[in-house]
Point group: C2
Chain length 269, copies 2
């Protein structure tokens, strides 16, 4: 242990020995002595609509990624800069690569029957394709979701691949695991989604499952669970399942193992 | 959007437009130009025993907290300093507070029957009690788990509370939700665990469930699922469930909602 850590430990341990909420609050107040700016038109936090004074954007992001913070509509106002820098910087890509590396290690660790029934479920938005060019123009999630503007962007069919997912896709294909895209995009976006996926480098897949009118009223968890159940009922083995939302990964028929890509920009229930 | 972000976007977007794995690899190679030091006696990474060149400790921690990196025995050698500073610094406490704040918001949002059957499941180690004083003396998880030394520490009964969990505990009690501790500690540690919990400020609870000899051979997920099932079969409603390990939160009878506290020091299957 580095000697600086020993010193730090000596300073911090009394707080833990005390163990009181007061000590914790004192620490937090001390750390967050700057109150967040109040914006007249927006709530101070999008985390479940609740007010979170002195929010740490790092803690908020970890809370989102671990599914502790759920049901939020927009990112906290004071975290726009933080989320923007994260998404455009190295860390988002490094964080994504750790996930896809683990996914590939998992796939390679299995001894799979060679019967053409091994599939890997990919979500589309913020998993296979990146809408970062759109979100970078719209406050990285600080603006409430605008379906008109977002659908206009989708119809352009210009979303780039998330490079780490494209790498995973290629390597899975090379070991005989076929991709199945399951997306919350609707059936009337099939053509543009197909064109966009091809343009981004996804050249072949077993299925592209989009939301049907019969799926309206389902939550994302219900819709995606039903789609995966349908796959398994058709004899497919879901070797892995990757998405940026917990609603891609929870529910039933989740597959052999799930992988959560980072997404601090929006939340889908 | 801040103008520096616009500039950053202009620099980064070509990588995304390209979207190729090569571009991603180039970025990663550039970022990780310093190779990690090779230690003769230890593997370079404890992540599933696999070699992870140029690991980002931030990404490793996020991967662990999101359950993307599983089954690891020790933290990566090169992340000892990072994990130590994280655990002893403000961020671990801030991250914990976001989780317990969300847990309390959840509890307060419910309209519960006042029949004495509302319980909240708390894990013990790294949830209710903190073993940080022990781990700070043992490399923050870089040393392989040593049951002899760890049990000696447990038998001292001197673990402090994680202050954020103690705050949650007190507030849950004040709204009529009773704590139930479910721990992987064994029945022969009941006395010292009771004494330690009381000393740390946990003054009352509905049950303290420890591992029985009949639980041997069960995974942590199986043991904890069975313990929660037993609670529900006895008429209790599990309003919430908080732990530092995913094995505290997965399985069956998981409760109304689960909350994952940070723990980058060890992994329990």
């Amino acid at each position: 242990m580095a000697s600086s850590l020993v010193l730090f430990l000596a300073n911090i341990l009394p707080l833990f020995s005390d163990g009181s909420p007061q000590a914790a609050n004192h620490l937090l107040l001390h750390h967050n002595h700057q109150l967040p700016q109040i914006h007249l038109l927006r709530p101070q936090s999008g985390a479940g609509g609740s007010h979170v004074p002195g929010l740490s954007c790092l803690s908020w992001r970890l809370g989102v990624e671990t599914n502790n913070i759920i049901g939020w509509k927009t990112i906290p106002q004071e975290c726009e800069g933080y989320v923007g820098h994260y998404m455009l910087g190295h860390q988002y890509r490094l964080d994504s690569k750790v996930v896809t590396d683990e996914a590939l290690l998992h796939a390679q660790s299995l001894n799979l029957p060679n019967d053409g029934k091994n599939v890997w479920v990919f979500d589309v938005d913020e998993t296979s394709l990146s809408n970062l060019p759109y979100y970078a123009q719209h406050g990285f999630g600080v603006e409430p979701y605008n379906s008109t503007l977002f659908n206009k962007w989708v119809m352009e069919g210009e979303a780039p691949a998330l490079p780490e997912s494209l790498t995973l896709y290629s390597k899975l294909l090379s070991v005989g695991i076929k991709p199945v895209f399951i997306t919350g995009r609707s059936e009337d976006e099939r053509n543009v989604t197909t064109t966009n996926l091809l343009k981004a480098g996804y050249h072949s897949w077993e299925k592209l499952v989009l939301k049907q009118s019969s799926d309206s009223g389902k939550t994302a968890v219900e819709y995606k669970s039903d789609a995966r159940k349908n796959l398994e009922e058709n004899g497919y083995r879901i070797i892995g399942n990757i998405g940026d939302q917990w609603s891609d990964l929870l529910g039933t028929n989740t597959g052999n193992r799930t992988f959560k890509l980072p997404d601090p920009m929006y939340y889908i229930s």
